[in-house]
Symmetry: C3
Subunit: 141 residues, 3 copies
């Protein structure tokens, strides 16, 4: 199951100090009316929250680290859920010792500095809906 | 040594439950007749296999983890080997404790859920051939 | 604070054995006269240096690993500093045991093999300048 897109506008910018990474990115995506696309971020955080999906119990479990960490990588896609733009992103975090941690990016991840690239893809947007096999909100046919 | 490309079509989609990540992506790339490009994936796996290249012995050694893990990042390029499209990709995996692992993506990595972006680059494709210095199948002049 | 861009040329290529990853990428970007864009690299290194930014002391501290490692991911953006193109990139490295490390890519990271994608974004370039809040060289209005 796939859809074909053309490259649209590309936005580069940075987020303000102490903003919420996922919420700010989502606000920009909605402001620019982007319904399909990709996001990339590098920077640093003061605190991070990820969600791990338990494939057996079919539920998310949150993990929070209150610690200075680099955003070594953060990559995600843009689609729709209930008609609203939603970012699904995964994040790689680095500690002061260069150790890496990460997972599914959740709200509650607080920016120290963050430089993003947001791309718009031109084409029919995917809409998320509950997938029976995995229990996840996956793209529907 | 570099080649210049223009952005072509972009495909977003998801892979089916319990498919082989590298094999499925390669099948899509071949089906769309893409010879140069990039892939990005986020999602989760039930099992993963990576290959580490020993720079001294000039050989790959496989590592397999049979465990629920997030695909925190998976990024790769598309070129040719023996005239056939080949994906060279590296993967970052996250455990339930948020620990990260990863390396060179090998066949045997089984999808729980996977959302991909595959981009076609328009231009002359690179062809891989054995590099004398490293022993790796690198892009040839 | 953001700026809008259009996709420009895309370059794929590989770096030579034992070159300096950050210096070589920067040389290519300058040679192609790219002032805004993105870089992606996968490959392997013989040695790597990252810099961790201490958010309290507002200073970078270097970490070096002299060891064969995979470049599991390396992603960055291109902008200007003092009118010269500069790459800000973060790197994820993988050991022979599949353990991951990484952070802010510094000079002194030596290539075993490296395949890159460099993209030019068409639009007004960001210029870096010292940010009062964080002490970092961030994009200015």
């Amino acid at each position: 199951m796939l859809k074909k897109y053309q490259q649209g506008n590309i936005y580069m910018g940075r987020l303000d100090y102490e903003t919420d990474l996922l919420k700010e990115l989502t606000a920009i995506v909605k402001d620019k009316n982007i319904k399909s696309g990709r996001i990339n971020v590098i920077g640093a955080v003061k605190k991070a929250t990820i969600s791990f999906y338990d494939q057996q119990k079919k539920e998310y479990r949150d993990l929070t680290w209150v610690e200075e960490m680099e955003i070594v990588n953060c990559v995600g896609n843009i689609s729709l859920r209930d008609g609203e733009a939603i970012i699904h992103a995964h994040i790689t975090l680095g500690t002061s010792a260069g150790k890496l941690r990460g997972g599914h990016l959740a709200a509650g991840t607080i920016v120290f500095a963050a430089e993003y690239i947001i791309e718009e893809f031109i084409g029919e947007a995917f809409e998320r809906g509950t997938d029976k096999v995995t229990g996840l909100p996956l793209w529907q046919e």
